[in-house]
């Protein structure tokens, strides 16, 4: 079949999916949706629709993630009148109403509705439901990498093709490998895995390298705690990534690709397997792709749980069946990579952008973003933020816009303190930089990094010493142990931060932290060790006061560090509801009904369960 015929077939399938002929239910069933109960809701729709004989047959589809994770489970319903409405926080109990009123009578249920999917469709019957693009979380976004996420069925290749998919590889084949690389150079795309190296340049190194065979690898080992962009894209639009890998292979002259994906992402792995089988069935993989003479195949390698395997030289060791330990560079992977052959590695998000760039043109992509940081970047918003989720915004947008306008501000109005960007390799950006434009250069200026794009919002109830200690605990655990600066450095930093959190440190320890941190930055073998001290160093710079209070006054101002706090109950605001006593795991809280309760300091383990359970703010931290 020619590509034009494949496109026609896909177009028909997409038209059928989009047309209003059959009422339908779309279930946001990526991992976040599932964790919030999407599958129970889907079963309720299946049973409810089957039981209601008055309904015309209803189509029920799983789709990926729209990025509005805070409102999961998200269900889109197209009723018999053609209204497409997205419902938020749907529970099985709400399903009978949605079936009867929207699918049965064709009237949207305004009280559960989040938005209409198309702003112009159908007049409101008195009730107001905003349009999708009017939502504050969506309005500032520009969706390129996540262009299809939540809109298409990720298990149906026709949907991807009908929305422009695989025309990127077709265009690349028309241009030829050299001009394809030029197109990527023109776009200004920089690696979205974190370091931001120009993608076109990386490709040209691998193209020029001598050696046979050559390999391309998709790095889907998203180990950064707090980041889930890659998972979301793989689960919601696997073909965007696979097409990018195919283009990369064609451009550098590789006939074999690997996708190295974490075992912790079972759904992403399943979607990739399905995607690869569909590519093969459509002649987009194999010996002679679309009659071009170019042959390409893909193997999935499942990661086995090691953060350091996100580092390219470690990742290749892991594919080869060894301990995933980095090796010094040069030689760079472009010259001697996997099995000693020229290899090109790109991250999931980079490859998803590549397929869009080849489809639309490099000049188009270069028109977005800032002078040195082109295009868009996806971020996962998490932590103490009202609207958690996955977003994609043009480079150069301010932190304030991301957190206040898109994310809805700090959770429960508790005040913005800092945002941790770039995961364990990144740093904390304090409130004074709230108006910072977000791009590679500006984040570096304030001592942090873009990283893969995790953003953890920290409010005034979080302790910065605790945050630094948390990250060092992570990197100490994940250090592969090959080089001394990283192995010993992470251990010592963790020991010092723990001493501070326990109130057993002195001010000289702060100097020691800086000294060890600087040594690790200069002397570690790979990015893990070079960046591991960043959370400690950036919090020391921006939150010195907080460190000093821990050291001098043996106090944790945020009320987090267990060794320095105690809980007490304010008798004035305690109603004696007994909620705290019920949740206390060690029975440290006593008191009779409707009488103020008391915490026994000897028994209390400072777990904080009582504070979480109290609805009256009566549990005080001292």
């Amino acid at each position: 079949m020619s590509f034009a015929e494949i496109q026609q077939k896909a177009g028909r399938s997409w038209d059928r999916f989009q047309s209003g002929e059959t009422p339908r239910v779309l279930v946001g069933a990526a991992t976040c949706g599932r964790a919030a109960g999407a599958m129970e809701v889907m079963r309720a729709f299946q049973q409810g629709c089957a039981a209601d004989t008055t309904l015309t047959p209803i189509e029920i589809h799983e789709v990926g993630c729209l990025g509005m994770c805070y409102a999961e489970p998200l269900i889109e319903i197209r009723g018999p009148a053609g209204d497409r409405v997205l419902y938020e926080s749907v529970t099985p109990a709400m399903v009978p109403d949605l079936i009867q009123i929207h699918l049965g009578q064709g009237r949207p249920v305004a009280e559960h509705a989040l938005c209409r999917m198309l702003p112009q469709e159908h007049s409101d019957n008195g009730e107001h439901i905003p349009g999708f693009t009017d939502l504050p979380m969506i309005r500032h976004q520009l969706r390129i990498v996540v262009r299809n996420c939540g809109f298409i069925d990720p298990t149906d290749i026709d949907h991807y093709i009908a929305r422009g998919g695989y025309s990127g590889i077709v265009r690349a084949m028309e241009l030829g490998p050299e001009a394809t690389i030029e197109e990527i150079k023109l776009s200004g795309l920089r690696g979205r895995g974190g370091a931001g190296f120009p993608t076109g340049l990386k490709w040209s190194f691998a193209r020029k390298a001598s050696g046979n065979p050559k390999y391309v690898i998709c790095n889907a080992d998203e180990g950064d705690p707090g980041a889930f962009m890659d998972r979301s894209v793989l689960e919601s639009d696997p073909h965007a990534v696979l097409e990018g890998l195919l283009i990369a292979g064609y451009a550098i002259g590789a006939n074999h690709g690997y996708v190295y994906c974490r075992a912790e992402y079972p759904l992403a792995l399943e979607r990739l397997r399905t995607g690869i089988a569909q590519m093969r069935a459509n002649g987009l993989l194999g010996e002679d792709i679309l009659g071009s003479g170019f042959g390409f195949d893909v193997t999935i390698k499942m990661g086995a749980g090691a953060f350091v395997c996100g580092e390219e030289t470690s990742l290749m060791q892991s594919i080869e069946g060894r301990r995933g330990m980095p090796r010094p560079r040069p030689p760079f992977p472009a010259h001697a990579g996997l099995f000693g052959k020229p290899t090109n590695i790109n991250n999931v998000e980079t490859l998803a952008a590549v397929s869009a760039i080849l489809e639309k043109s490099g000049a188009w992509y270069a028109g977005i973003g800032t002078e040195k940081s082109k295009g868009t970047k996806t971020f996962s918003l998490a932590g103490k933020i009202t609207r958690t989720g996955l977003i994609e915004v043009p480079m150069g947008i301010s932190l304030r816009t991301i957190i206040e306008d898109i994310g809805g501000g700090v959770l429960d109005g508790k005040g913005f303190k800092a945002v941790q960007t770039g995961g364990p390799s990144g740093g904390c950006v304090p409130a004074k930089h709230y108006d910072l434009p977000v791009d590679y250069e500006h984040l570096a200026q304030v001592g942090s990094i873009m990283g893969s794009g995790g953003m953890i919002v920290i409010d005034k109830e979080s302790c910065m010493v605790d945050v630094a200690k948390y990250f060092l605990g992570f990197t100490e655990n994940e250090s592969c142990g090959k080089c001394v600066p990283c192995r010993m450095g992470t251990q010592h930093l963790l020991r010092l931060l723990t001493a501070i959190a326990d109130g057993q440190a002195d001010e000289n320890d702060l100097e020691t932290i800086r000294m060890i941190g600087d040594t690790m930055k200069k002397a570690s073998l790979c990015g893990l060790g070079q960046t591991a001290p960043n959370p400690a160093l950036t919090t020391l710079d921006a939150f010195m006061d907080e460190y000093l209070v821990h050291i001098r006054d043996h106090r944790c101002p945020a009320g987090v560090c267990k060794a320095l706090i105690s809980f007490a109950i304010d008798p004035k605001s305690c109603t004696g509801c007994m909620a705290c006593a019920k949740v206390c795991p060690v029975e440290a809280i006593t008191g009779s009904k409707k009488q103020p309760h008391v915490v026994d300091q000897q028994t209390c383990i400072r777990c904080g369960a009582c504070r979480q359970a109290c609805k009256f703010g009566a549990v005080l931290v001292e």
Binding site: T31, A35, F228, E264, S380, G383, K384, P585, G608
Partner: protein, 158 residues
């Protein structure tokens, strides 16, 4: 004798699994993953068979297997409880949830309860950071957990 039975099952599966993988070294991790998928852990016998199949020393196979967090060398409990300790979960009380489960079933992360009912693991991040804290029980992901909700979940499992 449950233990004997388990070994027998393992022997039957193993030949079948080994047949599906080639003899070059890059098959090592997929092979270990495949075995663990069927056997739930890597027994000393499994390690020895893998070493033979790939022409490596057992030492070498253990060296790789112990490097990665995914591999277990003891049978897990009937219910596997995994608690996410990612950044988002940490700032929203993931540590509290882990402590509560640990107290509830009386084991620390990495252990299996003496009755074989539960094993407890801490996981670096599941990537469900928008719904913290996250707990995964037998492959079902539970978001927005609290210590109390998790305790109830475990009571229901019992």
């Amino acid at each position: 004798m449950a233990t004997t039975q388990r070994t027998e099952i393992a022997t039957i599966d193993m030949a079948e699994i080994l047949k599906n993988h080639g003899h070059s070294r890059d098959n090592l991790i997929p092979l270990l993953q495949d075995i663990q998928e069927h056997l739930n852990y890597l027994s000393p016998e499994a390690i020895s068979r893998v070493a033979d199949h790939l022409g490596l020393s057992e030492n070498d196979v253990y060296g790789v297997a112990t490097f990665y967090a995914q591999f277990r060398f003891h049978p897990p409990g009937r219910h596997r409880i995994k608690v996410c300790q990612g950044t988002a979960c940490h700032v929203r009380g993931g540590g509290m949830v882990l402590d509560a489960i640990s107290r509830k079933i009386g084991i620390v992360p990495g252990e299996t309860s003496p009755d074989g009912n539960f094993s407890l693991e801490r996981v670096a991040c599941f990537g469900s950071c928008a719904l913290p804290p996250v707990v995964v029980v037998d492959d079902t992901v539970y978001g927005r957990m609290t210590a109390r909700k998790t305790e109830k979940l475990i009571e229901d499992l019992e």
